[in-house]
């Protein structure tokens, strides 16, 4: 039992990261109805820009953080222009596939300018272990969970307590009606993309400083983990992204312990598939959403 509990704690720690990455992903999906596959690469470009500034100008962590956010936002803006804004709004497949092309492009840019497999990244804090009885907690992991909760809460409040958030939800529900009531669509879409990039930048910074190293595989890792996390609990749902991240982390940690690394991804993807088939709206999807998405799936 203790082992299972410890696995769950470990799963929560890594799940906090998945949740953070999935938050940005889900915001874009929720408001823009766009699966931006280049999301992870935008974050990776931001993180590597931070590393470059650190290596060349010995910037401290505070400034590295801002560089990462800035470059992630610029990269996000670039992707939004190329893969979303300039394409017809009903061309969902074209939007997703074009973001795949940009994903590959951004990954190659990083690999060209950063030829080594991995680079060191300065630590934010010394990662200490805290023992509560036989259970082990990482200080850094707890911090990530707190930040994740705060960010999710802030986004939730922003969406439900501000006029801009109301406009975002309106665009998400019915873009045509939103335009008729005078909502500035381009501003909302751009704002969504920027907020998602900022969240991604924060998550990327925290991940890099927690691992104290970053590899050029980072973008791919972010994209597929956050895609699964987002889909598990509810596409386009803030609570769903957080829950999905945590669930994915816990399942991975337990399957790693009980079945081994070979089966970990197999179990995650199987769960991902089952959720998509049985509950197309995700674990937190309402009955109405489930029906609607199942109808879309049947064509």
């Amino acid at each position: 039992m203790m082992i299972f509990l410890q696995n769950c704690i470990d799963g929560f720690m890594i799940g906090g990261f998945y949740a953070l990455f999935a938050l940005g992903f889900t915001l874009m999906f929720g408001v823009m109805k766009w699966t931006n596959l280049a999301y992870g690469s935008c974050i990776m470009l931001g993180v590597f820009s931070g590393i470059w500034m650190h290596l060349h100008f010995q910037l401290d962590l505070f400034w590295i953080f801002f560089v990462i956010i800035l470059i992630t936002v610029i990269a996000g803006y670039y992707v939004e222009r190329l893969c979303y804004r300039w394409l017809p709004k009903k061309a969902f497949m074209a939007m997703m596939v074009s973001s795949f092309a940009i994903w590959m492009q951004l990954d190659e840019i990083v690999r060209i300018y950063f030829p080594s497999r991995s680079y060191p990244f300065p630590r934010l804090m010394d990662n200490d272990l805290m023992m509560i009885g036989p259970l082990m907690f990482k200080a850094e992991g707890l911090l990530i969970l707190v930040i994740c909760g705060l960010l999710a809460g802030t986004i939730f409040l922003f969406l439900y307590k501000t006029r801009y958030g109301l406009a975002m939800r309106a665009v998400s529900e019915d873009p045509v009606a939103s335009r008729y009531v005078g909502i500035n669509m381009p501003s909302i879409l751009l704002g969504t993309s920027i907020i998602a990039s900022v969240i991604g930048g924060i998550a990327g910074f925290l991940m890099a400083t927690s691992d104290a190293q970053v590899s050029t595989e980072f973008g791919l890792w972010v994209t597929y983990k956050s895609l699964i996390a987002m889909t598990l609990a509810g596409l386009g749902s803030i609570r769903g992204a957080v829950l999905g991240g945590i669930i994915l982390g816990v399942i991975e940690a337990n399957s790693l312990w009980y079945l081994g690394a070979e089966y970990r991804d197999l179990v995650s993807f199987m769960l991902f598939f089952i959720v998509l088939v049985i509950l197309p709206g995700g674990l937190l999807g309402t009955a109405k959403e489930q029906k609607a998405r199942a109808a879309v799936r049947r064509g």
């Binding site: 696995n7 690999r111 497999r117 991995s118 691992d211 190293q213 690394a261």
Partner: protein, 408 residues
């Protein structure tokens, strides 16, 4: 006084004139020397200069370019007595079988007399199978082109074809000697627990076919085996299993990024084995840079260490070309020297019309080698196209690799 000044000025003018004339003569000689090197003997390198493992290919290319540059200062005497230059072309074969196959086909269409590559063992395993297995075999239409590899480490790759030769570290011998040394140095150790990066051919194969075999042969008892993939970032579950087994020896068969990932987690959970053993590929500056503290004391056998003046020179020359020297890329320098030697010994001509014979001479020359001069000493060659390189057992101490045992 006035007279003296005048004569001084005349002497000074004459001196300037002599210096200018000398400069002209030297420039002319250098230019003339260059112009005599019309003969270019083409050689081809190929490896992963893009993709996840691009750093390995970039390092090999840098070392190879530096070696060719050094060789071309004096030139190579061809079979018809002409002094020729080596002309290197390097191709990106990524770490991909299809790309590497098309690169090989492209190289064979050029005038290259020998190819050097690829980077990845998994790719090498497939593409070496395209070559003629037995030389002069009439019922085998496989590729007939000599290959001298510097990086792919997986055991036994040169057996795939008699056209394929390798100058890579012999992990079989190195790990055998490493465990001999461990037994002498730490006589009371009994158990080991291994961690393996399972999605990389080298780390997986070296573990199962080399390290595990020798650990068992030396009487150590395995108490656990953990796996992860090269993209993993979290190692807390595996580390807890290491903690649970409390093994005397922890063996990490992984490349530097995940080696450092697991070592940082082990340090965090305060897991301190009696000795920590790593994969040959991790005896690199990358490990020292990524996890200086966590990797303290990791012990690895390696066929490269900047111990000799020549090895140190290679490190400097490679850095100028934008590469690092490690046990993989160091072999690229030695390979260029081997090629120079065979060209001179076997009388390779290096003309397009002698291409077929030159390639055959290169193959036969490689097959006939009994020993070659390496960066750290004499490299013995085996009958199946492999190398027995000098090696050290090194340990990361205070962020620097230090030799703890020199069996040479």
């Amino acid at each position: 006084m006035f007279q003296d000044n005048k004569s001084n000025k005349i002497v000074s003018k004459r001196l300037k004139l002599i210096i200018i004339l000398c400069s002209f003569v030297i420039s002319f000689v250098i230019a003339a020397d260059d112009s005599t090197r019309e003969r270019k003997i083409k050689i081809a390198g190929f490896g992963a200069t893009s993709g996840t493992l691009q750093s390995l290919g970039i390092n090999s290319r840098a070392v190879l370019e530096a070696a060719v540059e050094q060789i071309n200062i004096r030139g190579i005497t061809t079979g018809d007595g002409v002094t020729a230059d080596l002309d290197l072309s390097y191709y990106d074969s990524a770490c991909n079988v299809d790309t590497a196959t098309s690169v090989i086909n492209k190289i064979i269409e050029t005038d290259a007399i020998v190819g050097m590559g690829p980077t990845c063992s998994g790719v090498a395993e497939v593409i070496y199978g395209h070559f003629q297995k037995k030389v002069d075999s009439l019922d085998d239409s496989g590729l007939q082109f000599p290959i001298l590899a510097d990086t792919p480490m997986k055991i036994g790759l040169a057996k795939k074809s008699e056209w394929v030769f390798r100058n890579v570290a012999n992990e079989w011998v190195m790990y055998d000697k490493l465990f001999d040394w461990v037994q002498t140095k730490y006589p009371n150790l009994k158990t080991y627990h291994a961690g393996i990066e399972i999605d990389q051919g080298h780390s997986k194969a070296t573990w199962s076919k080399v390290i595990k075999v020798h650990a068992d042969k030396h009487g150590y008892k395995q108490v656990g085996e953990e796996h992860w993939s090269m993209r993993d970032t979290s190692f807390s579950v595996q580390s807890r299993k290491f903690s649970q087994s409390n093994a005397d020896i922890i063996i990490i068969s992984a490349h530097p990024p995940t080696t450092c990932g697991i070592l940082k987690e082990l340090a965090l959970q305060k897991i301190t084995p009696k000795i920590l053993i790593g994969l040959t590929s991790s005896a690199s500056p990358e490990t020292a840079l990524l996890c200086t503290d966590a990797a303290e004391g990791i012990t690895i056998p390696t066929s490269f260490y900047p111990a000799s003046p020549l090895a140190r020179k290679v490190v400097r020359q490679a850095a100028l070309k934008g590469g690092n020297v490690d046990l993989h890329s160091a072999a690229a320098w030695e390979n260029a020297e081997i090629i120079k030697r065979i060209i001179q010994d076997t009388g390779i001509i290096g003309k397009p019309e002698t291409l077929k014979e030159d390639r055959r001479k290169m193959r036969d020359g490689l097959a006939a080698l009994k020993s070659t001069k390496g960066l750290l000493g004499i490299i013995e060659r085996t009958a199946d196209g492999e190398a027995m390189k000098p090696y050290f057992i090194v340990q990361l101490i205070g962020g620097e690799w230090s030799v703890v045992h020199n069996p040479n």
